[in-house]
C-alpha cells in the first residue's frame, strides 16, 4: 500500500482506498497511467458479470415464460429472452436448445439482480451474436481473454499467420474455437492456454 493525497474517491479494478491509503485488493501487477490512475491487472478464473460485456454462455434451462436460462460462469444464470434474437417474433421463435453455446451481451448485471443478456444489438442486428455451432468451448483465465480481446492482439496475429480458425472470446473466461480438423482444434486450444504467458518473440 502507498499513500496518495487525493480527495476524490478512487474506484479502480483491484485497488481499494482506506482512509489515506490505497490498498491492493487483488493480486497482480500494479499499473499506472499518469497522472493519477492506478489499477491492478489481475488474473483470475472466477467471473463476475459486468454490464455490456460480451460473454459465452451455455443454455441450461428450457424457456420458462419464454426466457432461457444461460450459465455464464457467474453466481447466477443469466436470463435470455427468446425475443432477443435477430428476426425473432412471437410467432417466429429461434431454434435454441438446452446445451447450445450462446454468444451474447449482458444488458443487466448487478450484484443485486439476476443478470440478463441479449443476442441482438439495439438496432436489432445479430453482429455475430447468437448460437455458436460446432467447435469446442473451453475455460481459461480472464486475463488471457482480455489479452485476446485487445484490438490487434499479438497472440491472435501470430496464430492467424499459421492456422485457419474461427474464434470467439467471452469476457467470462470462455473461448470458443473452431477449425477444420479435430487435431488442429485440440492443438490450438491446448497451446492458447499457455500462450498468454509468452512474450512476442516467443510466440513467433
Amino acid at each position: 500500500s502507498f499513500t496518495l493525497s487525493v480527495t476524490t474517491p478512487i474506484t479502480s479494478p483491484g485497488v481499494r482506498r482506506e482512509g489515506d491509503q490505497i490498498i491492493a485488493a487483488k493480486s497482480g501487477i500494479l499499473r499506472h497511467r499518469p497522472p493519477v490512475t492506478y489499477w491492478i491487472d489481475n488474473n483470475q478464473r472466477r467471473y463476475v458479470p459486468v454490464v455490456e460485456e460480451f460473454v459465452i454462455g451455455i443454455v441450461t434451462g428450457k424457456p420458462s415464460m419464454d426466457v432461457y436460462r444461460v450459465d455464464i460462469g457467474g453466481s447466477m444464470p443469466a436470463a435470455l429472452s427468446y425475443l432477443n434474437f435477430e428476426g425473432a417474433t412471437k410467432r417466429n421463435r429461434p431454434s435454441v436448445q438446452v446445451g447450445d453455446t450462446i454468444y451474447g451481451q449482458l444488458i443487466v448485471a448487478s450484484k443485486d439482480m439476476e443478470p440478463e443478456m441479449t443476442c441482438v444489438t439495439v438496432a436489432g442486428k445479430a453482429n455475430g451474436m447468437g448460437v455458436l455451432e460446432d467447435g469446442l468451448t473451453f475455460q481459461s483465465s480472464l486475463g488471457l481473454c482480455r489479452e485476446l480481446l485487445v484490438a490487434e492482439s499479438p497472440i491472435l496475429a501470430a496464430y492467424g499467420k499459421r492456422f485457419r480458425f474461427e474464434i470467439t472470446v467471452g469476457a467470462n473466461g470462455r473461448i470458443w474455437l473452431k477449425s477444420p480438423s479435430v487435431s488442429q482444434t485440440i492443438a490450438l486450444c491446448n497451446s492458447l492456454d499457455s500462450a498468454g504467458m509468452l512474450s512476442t518473440e516467443q510466440l513467433e
Binding site: I58, T60, D71, G73, Q97, G99, D100, T101, L132, E133, D134, G135, L136, T137, Q139, W176, V182, S183, T185, I186, A187, C189, N190
Partner: protein
Amino acid sequence: MKDPPSSKNERQFVLKAIEERKRLDGRGIYDYREISVNLGQERGHVEVAIGNTRVLCQVSGEVVKPPANRPTDGLLFFNVELSPMASASFEPGRSSPMAVQLSRFLEHALKDSRAVDTESLCIVADEKVWSIRVDVHVLDHCGGLATACSVAAVVALSHFRRPDVSVVGEEVTVHSLQDREPVPLNIYHMPICVVVGFFHDGKYLIIDPTWQEEREMDGSLTVGMNVHREVCLLSTSGKVPLSIEQILRCTQMASVKVAEITELIKKVLSGDSVQKKATRADIAPVGMDTEPSTSRPVKKKKKKASKHADVSIIGTNTGGIGLGGASAWSDGDDADKPKAVASVATDSDSGDEVTMVLNDVGFKSSR
C-alpha cells in the same frame, strides 16, 4: 454449486475426437497422464498428482481393542474425502456417493485382497491391536480419481512406519519413535486401479479419462490389479453392457499400466529409503521420467561412517554430533536440552559396517 454444464458442442467434439482416436490433451488413447508421487516429511504422508488431479494421503495408527469376532487381526480403515476445493460439484458433508464409492474401491482392492498383513498388527489377542487409518483427501479433481487414490494409499501404506511394540509377559510397551526405530507394515502386494472409459456404446475405449471425458463417457470400467497380474477389483458403471472379451482386453491393458505405475512407486520408495539414510533433507518428487539416482545424494556406507565419525557417545543409547551433546550447565540435569540423538545400529547384511540412522529430534547436522 454445480459444475458448468457440458455444452452440446463439447459433447459432440469429444465424441468426434474419440472416433478419430484423439484425446483432448493430445494423448494417445492408451496413454496415462504424467504421474508424480511426492513423499512428505512425515511417515505415511504422500501427495500424488496425475496430470492436474491431485490427492493427498495420510496414514495414521493407534492401539485399540479389537472387535470380538476377529480378536487377532488388526483393523484397517479407508476414507476418501472429496474436498470442495477439488471441484465445484463437491459439497462439504460426507455422504456423496462418489466418496463412498472411492472408499469402497480402496477397501476392496487393499483390504479384501489382503494387500496389508493385518495379523501382524495384533499386539495382544483380544485386547490390543493396531488400527491403521488411511485418509485420502482429493485436492483437485480432473478425472482418474480411482487411480490417484489407490496409488496414494499404496505408497502411503508402504511409507508408513508404526511405533515398535514389545510384549513382555503381561506388559506391553509401545516404544516412542526416539527409543526404537519404527516398524513398517507388511505389504504383500500393491493393487492399483486403472480406469477405462467407454464411448459410442462401448465401441471405443480410452484409458485414464480426464474430467471432460468422464462427463461424456457412456460407461466406465475400473480394474484394480497388482503387478503379479492378480485382479483385485472390477467395477463397472454407466450404461454400457460389456462383453467378456472387452473385459479381458481391459484387464490386459491394465496390467501393462499397473506394471509401469508400480515401477514408479518402487523407484520413489527406494529413493526415499536411501535418502533417509543419508540425510534428512526434503525429498524431491519423482515423476515417471526422472531417474532417482541422479538427484539423490547416494552415499556408500563406508564413506558415511567416516563422515559421521565425530560422534561423541554421551550415555547409553545417546550420541552427539556437532553442537549440543553433554550438558554445559553446572546442575548436571539432563532434562530437555536440544541434544542430537543418534542411535547406532548394525546393518545385518554387511557385517562390520555401521549404518547411521538419525532420529527426528530437532537434529541440526554439522555439514
